[in-house]
């Protein structure tokens, strides 16, 4: 019996020839990551352990991204605590405001995660790095503190679900729509404790940015990790970025899967997840007349170049609807610069959008676009739970950047075909 890519990566990091689903293993980690919300707790726990230094100052990565630029005094204190710890430990990968990015956009861009890696992060969307063929999963601050000291952690080896996406993507259908459609199909606990392995011709043809979006939202189906076996596109992406040795792995043809689910993507429309769950999806054509107050384009899910280009394509020669605030947040400083050079920021500003420095901000109702009671937002983010973007009586509708941009122009949930 062969192994899945997830099992192979875990086996190699556990010093084993093979592992099987359900087994508990202790595994070496290549990278551990925390942000300004989760790091302060992890640092507190790390200090309790009593060791002086982290296991490797090159592999413990701290990124202030959630409540920065500091939104209030308490957030400033948390960011300061993390910054001081990074200095004290001589961490090579601490990224300051003005040079940083949303962690899950930043780490792959900077080549800090590579194929075959095991990555844990005190952030649930750490699963994003599955897009480069890494095993990556979110943990809490205490697990992270232990790994900061040990350079290892324990895992239960997950069973894998294989998703096969057949066919060519229709116009305006993106990685976001594939993952929303999938979550809508299997539900928010459809992959609980399991690995989601994305395969098939539509994935082969999907851009890296689209793949990041898909792996990013695996957690919204309850998955431990999402993963896409590296191909030439992946190797082209990581070459020149990842400075460490990395290993390109693939699932064996006779690997065992808990389930195999096949979708014909030619039948998938742009999707919208209605409040208050990412699995409450429907095609945009079935959205009805939903008037909106705000649109957010950005986040670790959809804050990359392709997302901004897609939004600009829709917004060019249009103005944001008078009743709508459009907030656009490039995922990293590098993406911000590239969007500037490509003229995208000009398109956004002329359309009447507010463009921000990178931050998670509004996605989790932190700052930079918090909603009032009764307000509705279309967002390219990942969660639309009660109170996620602000008041518990506000509503978030999840969509791709083209749908979000079209909705900003028309003041209601709209298909991009309606404005271009």
């Amino acid at each position: 019996m062969g192994m899945t890519i997830t099992e192979k990566i875990l086996a190699r990091h556990a010093g084993r020839n093979r592992v099987t689903p359900g087994e508990l293993i202790s595994a070496r980690v290549d990278v551990v990551l925390a942000n300004d919300i989760t790091a302060p707790l992890a640092i507190k726990e790390f200090r309790k352990i009593g060791v002086k230094r982290v296991f490797d100052p090159d592999r413990v990565i701290l990124v202030p991204d959630h409540f920065v630029p500091n939104k209030d005094i308490k957030s400033a204190e948390q960011a300061k605590e993390m910054r001081e710890f990074a200095r004290e430990q001589g961490l090579t990968n601490y990224f300051e405001v003005g040079r940083m990015g949303i962690e899950h956009c930043l780490l792959p861009e900077q080549g800090l995660v590579g194929p075959g890696d095991v990555v844990i992060g005190a952030d649930s969307h750490t699963c994003t790095y599955g897009a480069v063929g890494a095993f990556a999963t979110g943990v809490g601050s205490t697990d992270l503190a232990a790994a900061m000291a040990l350079g290892e952690t324990w895992f239960k080896v997950p069973a894998s679900i294989k998703f096969v996406y057949e066919g060519e993507l229709p116009a305006w259908v993106t990685g976001k729509d594939l993952i929303l459609y999938t979550i809508g199909d299997i539900g928010v606990e459809g992959a609980l404790y399991q690995a989601m392995e994305f395969t098939g011709p539509a994935i082969d043809n999907l851009s890296m940015d689209g793949r990041f979006t898909m792996a990013n939202m695996a957690i919204e189906a309850g998955a431990k990790n999402g993963i896409i076996a590296p191909d030439q596109r992946t190797v082209d992406y990581v070459r020149g970025r990842v400075k460490r040795p990395y290993e390109v792995l693939a699932s064996d043809p006779d690997a065992a899967y808990a389930r195999v689910i096949t979708y014909d993507v030619t039948k998938i429309e742009p999707q919208v997840a209605f409040p208050h769950s990412p699995d409450n999806t429907r095609p945009v054509s079935a959205a009805g007349n939903v008037e909106i107050d705000q649109v957010v384009i950005g986040s670790c899910t959809n804050g990359r170049m392709e997302d901004l280009r897609l939004a600009a394509r829709v917004l060019a020669r249009h103005r944001v609807h008078p009743n709508v605030r459009l907030i656009i947040i490039p995922g990293t400083q590098e993406i911000y610069r590239q969007a500037l050079d490509e003229g995208l920021l000009g398109v956004f500003v002329r359309a009447g959008a507010a463009v921000s420095t990178p931050t998670c901000g509004p996605c989790l109702g932190g700052h930079m676009g918090v909603l009032a009671a009764g307000e509705r937002a279309v967002a390219t983010t990942n969660r639309n739970f009660v109170g996620r973007m602000g008041h518990p009586e506000s509503e978030v509708y999840l969509a791709n950047p083209a749908v979000a941009a079209a909705s900003a122009v028309l003041g209601r949930i709209a298909h991009p075909g309606e404005v271009t």
């Binding site: 508990l24 919300i37 989760t38 302060p40 707790l41 507190k44 726990e45 309790k48 352990i49 009593g50 060791v51 959630h66 409540f67 939104k71 209030d72 308490k74 957030s75 948390q78 992060g121 005190a122 952030d123 649930s124 750490t126 979110g138 943990v139 809490g140 601050s141 205490t142 697990d143 503190a145 232990a146 000291a149 040990l150 324990w154 239960k156 928010v188 606990e189 609980l192 404790y193 957690i219 309850g222 431990k224 769950s277 989790l364 109702g365 932190g366 918090v370 969660r383 739970f385 009660v386 109170g387 996620r388 602000g390 518990p392």
Partner: protein, 167 residues
């Protein structure tokens, strides 16, 4: 450990944003977090919950964000134990790591109503509804997790690995 308290029931997919909204994540002080525990699901909960009370959730309890502030808020509010049909995986780890006992038991979830008095034996996994007299058996805690609990939580477990002994 024998725990006894009043049950507070919640539905399926109780996410960590509901358990502790991100607007309160500019601190990691359990007492402060506890004041807003479950706020977006039940505004009265934090004010009315009594030490020892037990949360009974449905499927996928603790889904969403990895924030450890969620089990910390629950523990800080005095809740002694969470029983659910299933737990989201990051929450599951976090709860053990910070010393909040949690048990998976679908039968207990079906057999406990809000306000019932409940007794939980964390060692055996036996759950009693003292109001109705019904008894349930929870899934035993995996051996690996028992080791961490025996060490007094994950951090003590790591201290032992480094042979750092007691403080």
């Amino acid at each position: 450990m024998l725990l006894r308290g009043k049950a507070w029931t919640f539905g399926d997919n109780i996410d960590t944003d509901v358990i502790i909204p991100a607007r309160y994540l500019n601190t990691s002080d359990p007492a402060e977090l506890a004041r807003h525990c479950m706020e977006d699901a039940d505004r009265e909960f934090a004010r009315k919950v009594q030490p020892g009370d037990i949360i009974v959730g449905g499927a996928n309890f603790g889904c969403g964000s990895s924030r450890e502030h969620a089990p910390l808020a629950i523990k800080g509010a005095g809740v002694s134990c969470v029983i659910a049909r299933t737990f989201a995986r990051i929450f599951y780890r976090n709860a053990f790591n910070i010393g909040l006992p949690i048990l998976e038991c679908p039968a207990a979830v079906d057999g406990i109503r809000s306000g019932d008095q409940v007794e939980v034996d964390t060692a055996s996994g036996r759950i009693k509804n003292l109001t109705t007299g019904a008894e349930f058996e929870a899934k035993p805690i995996p051996p690996f997790m028992q080791e961490i609990i025996a060490a007094g939580g994950l951090i003590e477990h790591v201290r032992r690995k480094f042979h750092l002994g007691e403080n």
